[in-house]
Amino acid sequence: MSIVSYKFVIFLALLCGVYYLVPKSAQWIVLLAASMVFYLSYGVKPVVYLLFTALTTFAAGLILGNINFSLENCLKSNPSLSREERKAAKKAARTRKRWVLAAAVLCNIGMLAAVKFAGCLGPVLGKLLGRPGYGGEGLFSWLALTLGVSFYVFQTVGYVTDVYRGIAEPCRSFPRYLLFVCFFPQLLQGPISRYGQLYPQLVEPRDFSARNMKFGIQLIMWGYFKKVVVADRLAVMVNTVFDRYAEFGGAVIFLGVMLYCIQLYGDFSGGIDIIRGAAQMLGIEMTENFRRPYFSRSTAEFWRRWHISLGAWMRDYLFYPISRTKAALRLGRACRKRPGGHLGDVLVPAAATFIVFIVMGIWHGAGLNWLVYGIWNGVLISSSMLLEAPFRRFYKSAGISPDNPMVRFFQICRTFILVTIGRYFSRAESLAVAAAMLRRSFTAVLPRQLLDGTLLNLGLGLYNMVVALAGCVVMLIVSILQERGCNIRESLERKSPGVQFAVNFVSLLALTLFGIYAQGYVPAEFVYANV
């Protein structure tokens, strides 16, 4: 069931009705049932993977919780233990917990890796077995990438790690835990929620709130607008550029990649807004996942504004563990002792960041192009960390304030261009194609193609290009207002009823004309062109 389909709207409407009508103690059951129905609409196989993850991480959480509980009990009930004995007990508990955590993480990350790389493993196995042409049929067909696995695996690994660290209490009700894992709005594209933030909201009873319903509907409409009116239209042009890049000059290719940046933002953040809006209608606040990322002044800032939940997860569950290993700490200390010792402060974080972004790249996809994508971002952020101090000195010596509007504008443009370059690798079907497109962007620019009508032949047509452009302008205006601290929903609340009605009407009309009805129009001219 696509979140931009009529079925989803009807599903959500029915769910809200049932959710607020049932006894409050049963509300979480309604959510769980709805989530399972939603996921089952994609087939049975995805549910099998989901249940595997839910069971293994639930069990791990229980075991970790029991270990913590046992240790606490042991220490409380034996106050006479010596310091060494207490230390030994803690160490033993920590060791057992590490094994449990490692097992849970390996099982699930291993499953994630297997489904991600199943497509690549088949031919490799075929080569090893001396069976060229073998693609892993039968063996790997069950491992084919399954819906949402990247998100719920990370979410549950986060839960297990939080329990391990003692930040969260283990969940003792499997059905409730299952709801946390499979809560339907977040299943397909996140955000990756934290147990402590999401779980209590899922199981708490909720009263109907007209305000939540209102904000939820507004968010959903905004999400639909970004996704269906803007992103789906730009996708046509982007696909043409990427599929037939050899026919275009570098200017058109670069424009196509920039449009991809906007398309991806519209699609991803639009989808997230629909998800968050749906959750808000049910009284549940989900993590913000995008915060106007193209206003970032550096790549590091970009990744703090783009797919925020993934970045936060990587930071908490990968970056900190790496940078706090004994080896990392030793390295840092060693660097600080040498000349240029300030490097010690940044070298380890930079290295850890680099590793994190490689993992991030691979998390997105199995191809080499994704690896390069991760390396590209890792290099940018790591090097900016290493060069931060010299840049600060430069600005100071030049008498330029970093907050100077021209400097800010330059930084925003620079960051956007750097992000765009990275998108060559994330969108192209292979590393070779990405490299070819990038090379062509600089060696065969052909700027006249931007003005000679080539853009009108990228599959979209003038009318839809105008609609897409208008949509982008609306997105830009809204983003600028939000960047300046304006809360648009609350501003609208203060307007007169007439204005609010007009905004609703215009929004719905725009969504209807340019979104809902965008597909399916078959002009008669196509049929009768030669009659």
Binding site: S209, A210, R211, M213, K214, I217, E493, S496, P497, Q500, F501, N504, F505, S507, L508, L509, T512, L513, Y517, G520, Y521, V522, P523, A524, E525, V527, Y528, A529, N530, V531
Partner: protein
């Protein structure tokens, strides 16, 4: 506004949007399902979806019709007007593009249940057995609920809440609609057929040129297509036949003219089975497997026979012997003769594979006809378009000695329409503008050598030696009496070069209308009215003088376009000439081969030998 009121406001806005969409669609009615009271633009509605619009039209107009053509788009070639004439009926063409037997059966059932039907002409094709009950699922292909019995609520709701783009598109098209059909309004309201006025006015001549413009004929692939629905086809056919028989409806079944090369993509065994089993159910006229179907020029494209040939098919069925119909075009197949007939054909799939449109032998039904163009004849030529009397006579003599026979346009028309053979080496001699020298010098020479000629007169200059009423001297032009004398001889045909659409720039007070094309800034309606009036004046003037019909037109300066061609055709002009220097190929049964004929401009620089070489290319 508090949140509860906001929710109500939102619901109200949503309802308002839905209401607006519904009102727009109901008012503009792009598919014609709601009666189209506002635009009453049936042609556009039918173009959008003939399955809904034609039925909606018939529901209001059943009393106008008592007979129907049913089939897919190939049925459009059979002219309702001719069927009306032959069968004394009132036909409407209910064809739907992409129609399958399921659609046809449903349509016949609907027609018989809702009207007193006298005749049904059912057009069958290979596609009838290649698919069954195709359902595009979109609004442009949905069958009317009254026909297929589906839920009317769902049907009307779908169109009420259809994509508003259809309505906007109809409004936009309405504003830019023109006299000529456009891709958004290709149907004729009264007959339900395609409006082929543009395609039927396009000039056709040499096969190579035609294939270059219509590459579809040279790109027919051999990917085998299977007739997987023969059983469903036969069941539907049987149902149609039985229903017609029970209701006393005269059913005429036609197997459409199929471009022969298409058969290479079918298993001949399946085609045979289809035809043999069809004959077991009903007699039918078969218009495939003949010389007509091997000639690309007789088809608009590889799937659709041209209207003139469709007219001949109807003439064949109705026994009209006044028409020239190729002998092998159309045979009535019955259960008694179908097997022998098909045996006689052999494996048509194999035969079709040997065909190539480039290798068509058209010598039996085409003729190569050069046309000469003269203007003023003077005792001495001027080195340009005016040639000397001496040279003119030498040229005429050379033509005669070389075995050329001067023919008239009537002879060409007879060749095309009635198959009357032309002489071995025909040539048409023409004169433009109607100069007095044509009467004083050329006419006697033509009489001497017994050579026919056609003179195209400018009506406003007839009998004059000054430019209209300006007093500016021009070459004198022959008078109506002189035209009558030449026409009475039987050698000279007087035809139209327009009445006053060959004006001279500089001689007119305002902008000069130098040719028949629409002038810049001129409204289309005004242009059409002006053109028709001019032609009528020219015609009346000439026919009054000569007593003979005007059915040939020479474009001033050779300038022509689709609209002028269509207007001339509608006015009954059967041949048009330009000044493009080329030889001409005319084709029997193809009236369009007489349009925009080229002419060799004969000047003082053309010696008799050069003239002969020019026209023998």
């Amino acid at each position: 506004m508090d949140s509860k009121k906001w929710l109500l406001s939102f619901a109200g806005a949503a309802l308002l949007v839905a209401l607006l969409v519904a009102l727009l669609n109901a008012a503009v009615d792009p598919f014609g399902v709601f009666g189209d009271r506002l635009f009453q633009w049936h042609s556009a509605n039918t173009t959008m979806n003939p399955r809904t619009a034609k039925i909606a039209y018939l529901k209001k107009n059943f009393d106008r019709y008592d007979s129907y053509l049913v089939g897919s788009s190939s049925a459009a070639a059979y002219p309702a007007e001719k069927l009306n004439q032959y069968l004394n009926a009132s036909f409407y063409n209910v064809f739907f593009y992409g129609s399958d037997m399921h659609d046809m059966e449903a349509a016949v059932r609907y027609l018989i249940e809702n009207d007193e039907v006298k005749n049904i002409v059912l057009s069958l094709s290979l596609s009838c057995a290649a698919g069954y009950d195709w359902d595009t699922g979109d609004l442009t292909g949905l069958m009317h609920a009254d026909v297929d019995g589906s839920s009317k609520f769902t049907f009307y709701a779908k169109y009420l809440f259809a994509n508003p783009m259809y309505s906007f598109s109809k409004i936009y098209n309405f504003l830019k609609d023109t006299y000529l059909p456009q891709p958004f309004d290709v149907f004729l309201e009264k007959t339900g057929a395609y409006d082929k006025s543009v395609r039927d006015a396009e000039p056709i001549g040499d096969l190579g040129e035609y294939l270059a413009k219509n590459s579809g004929f040279t790109q027919i692939g051999g990917e085998v297509q299977s007739l997987d629905y023969i059983d469903e086809y036969l069941d539907a056919l049987k149902s149609i036949v039985e229903r017609c028989w029970e209701s006393g409806v005269n059913l005429i079944v036609i197997f459409e003219p199929t471009y022969t090369e298409r058969f290479k993509a079918y298993h001949w065994g399946q085609v045979r089975e289809m035809l043999e089993k069809t004959a077991e159910i009903t007699d039918f006229w078969c218009f495939s497997f003949n010389s007509v179907c091997e000639e690309p020029r007789y088809f608009y494209d590889v799937y659709h026979i041209r209207n003139p040939l469709g007219e001949l098919a109807i003439a064949r069925i109705c026994g009209d012997r006044s028409k020239m119909i190729p002998e092998d075009f159309g045979v009535l197949l019955t259960c008694e003769n179908v097997s022998d007939y098909l045996d006689g054909l052999g494996d048509v799939s194999v035969y079709a594979s040997t065909l190539s449109p480039w290798k068509v032998d058209d010598s039996g039904y085409t003729a190569r006809v050069p046309i000469l163009l003269y203007h003023h004849i003077a005792p001495l030529g001027d080195g340009g378009a005016t040639i000397s009397a001496e040279l003119f006579e030498k040229q005429i003599k050379a033509l005669k000695n070389a075995g050329y026979t001067a023919v008239s346009f009537s002879d060409l028309i007879e060749f095309v329409e009635r198959g009357k053979e032309l002489p071995e080496k025909p040539v048409v001699i023409t004169f433009d503008d109607g100069y007095l020298s044509n009467y004083e010098i050329a006419y006697p020479i033509l009489k001497k050598y017994n050579m026919k000629a056609t003179m195209f007169v400018i009506g406003a200059s007839m009998g004059k030696s000054t430019y209209k009423d300006t007093g500016i001297p021009i070459f004198p032009h022959f008078s109506a009496a002189q035209a009558a004398e030449m026409a009475a001889s039987g050698l000279i045909s007087i035809q139209s070069h327009s009445y006053d659409m060959h004006q001279r720039a500089g001689y007119e007070t305002g902008a000069a209308r130098e040719n028949v094309l629409r002038m810049k800034g001129e409204r289309e309606e005004d242009y059409i009215e002006c053109f028709r009036r001019d032609l009528e004046l020219s015609r009346t003037q000439i026919e009054t003088a000569t007593g003979r019909p005007v059915n040939v037109f020479s474009f001033p300066y050779g300038k022509c376009d689709t609209l002028s061609g269509v207007l001339l055709r509608e006015a009954g002009i059967k041949a048009t000439v330009t000044i493009e220097e080329k030889n001409n190929t005319i084709v029997k049964c193809l009236p369009q081969s007489l349009y925009e004929l080229g002419r060799f401009n004969v000047t003082e620089h053309v010696s008799p030998e050069e003239l002969l070489a020019m026209i023998s290319e």
